[in-house]
Symmetry: C2
DNA sequence: TTGACGCATTCCGTTATGGGAATACGATGG
DNA sequence: CCATCGTATTCCCATAACGGAATGCGTCAA
């Protein structure tokens, strides 16, 4: 049992931001708090879909809710993105180096081809 | 038809790195190139699993292969991580600000509670 | 109280996942 | 040519994703 097929989107921030629409939501929330309906309209998604995505973001702690009468204002809590930034940042030195590696790789290929 | 349930892991780097083991692979590859079997042993995963994950990483361009006789040496190509780093970096200013927002949020709650 | 509004949840269907086991494939060595 | 090693692929399973449609539920206004 529990033959995990794929980690739940709510398992961590990495999974949560794998979905483009959720990234859009987060980006939008940089501008401030939004009620669900407006947010949905802004991003051209159905209200239920917005609610579902917001739920995921809430469960991984990337988003916060505030009750305001009938509405629920969602706001950004970007702290959960920091670990991601740091993890990816650990590869920064390789972004440029990669070019060189690829170059030498390509040259190896050429050379190998000539040796045939 | 084509009722996309969830974006394929091979759809982009965001999805590819959502899987912890694939992140482990990338981290390991910072040390250099590795043949599949060694890599699998290092990370305590089966050879087929390693091959599968490497395939995903290859398809999104985060990894490169080089034939070396019987072996296949996998190497890092971190360039695909840059867009991620930049996207997440777009939230950097909010990591700290979030604290303040959360504080005021908590204070709102306290205040509301006192008003009951 | 009733109605309307804002949002969350549930149900359904299709798709793809990641793990295990078995197997197919290509290159090398004898 | 055959056995073997290193990899990739295939099949099967259980899980859960995301989207749409329908519905539940709490809040506010009349």
């Amino acid at each position: 049992m529990a033959a995990v097929a794929r980690a739940a989107t709510t398992s961590d921030a990495f999974n949560a931001i794998a979905e483009p629409q959720r990234r859009d939501i987060l980006a939008l929330l940089r501008a401030g708090e939004w009620p669900v309906t407006d947010l949905a309209r802004q991003l051209s998604m159905s209200q239920p879909q917005a609610s579902k995505h917001l739920r995921v973001l809430r469960e991984v702690g990337l988003v916060r809710v505030r009750e305001a009468g009938k509405q629920r204002l969602y706001g950004l809590d970007a702290r959960g993105l920091r670990p991601i930034h740091e993890w990816v940042g650990g590869f920064e030195q390789f972004w440029n180096e990669s070019f060189d590696r690829l170059d030498s790789y390509v040259q190896d290929l050429k050379q190998a081809r000539q040796e045939d």
